[in-house]
Symmetry: C6
Subunit: 75 residues, 6 copies
């Protein structure tokens, strides 16, 4: 499978947790489409499609749920 | 990545938590499409599309789950 | 942002909780499309579209998860 | 809003909980489209559409999560 | 409603839990489309449609969340 | 049903948990479309479709929620 990239779910801040959620969402795409070239081409499409952007935001939201729980919500 | 914008998940009220959920949903779009101009153009499309609006409401609902849990449901 | 409308997640009954979930789902649409006129027009479309109705039911289900947890499932 | 129909999330069995999840999913449609006649007509469409059926199954699954948690998973 | 089929969420193994999640996902389709004949016909369509297959996998994932929690994750 | 493949939700690391989430997402497709040949053909389609890739990432995110919870978030 892909190169290891996920060493921990712990982050120092909520901001860093959210950025990890963004990364996880992108890695979920990359594991299915490993070609940087193809993903770059597709990016030109979906970044101009409102529904794709909303769907992307949803995947980030789901990953953020996991990370926030893992960090006790940074309380 | 983007400018830091998420300092905490804690909010004083349920209303403020819901507004943070709206912001998180929008930031999830912005991280994929950073151009204010493009997002403004797309907004003209999806704000007139029932399915896009329902999908947006769903992303807010998912983010609100996280924020509500982080705040112990403001009990 | 919008007028405050969410003072608490606590409700006396499961029924009232479910009705709050319906309201939250609608407010998630309204925050993106604030025009009553436009929403009314769109309503004429999605209330006659099976997939839109199923999607609406899903948003209610997600919001209800949050409210039910906030109320200890009204046990 | 609609006639009260949800008195409790407690059910005696997992089967009854699942049936309540089905009912909740349908009520989520009915609250947006109250006309029995329109829903009946739409039913003729979505019950012959694979994607609509899969989406319906998903809404039931989400509602069942809530009900199962409310019942301590009937342990 | 349908014949009872869900007696318990407890399973001996994670594998059996996953198989129950598959069954629940299919029963969520069957409750809306009870005809074996129609479902068989639709199956010929969605089993050759990538998006339908991904959506099916998602419903299984949601049902598995419930079953895994009900079994204390088989620890 | 399919050959047993899920012996445990426990993994040593977050990375291994994420890889299990990817596997679970694929098995959710395979259980509906068991033919390696058909899945290979469909793969050629969805790996070039931005929305399919985002949807795949979402299924992984949902499965990862379950696995992360099962492992106490690898704390």
């Amino acid at each position: 499978m892909s190169e290891p990239w996920l060493s921990t779910l712990k982050t120092d801040t909520a901001q860093a947790g959210w950025e990890l959620a963004v990364k996880m969402s992108r890695m979920g795409v990359k594991v299915t489409q490993p070609s940087d070239e193809v993903r770059k081409r597709l990016r030109g499409i979906y970044e101009n499609d409102a529904d794709s952007l909303i769907a992307s935001s949803q995947v980030i939201a789901i990953n953020f749920q996991t990370i926030a729980a893992a960090n006790g919500y940074w309380k």
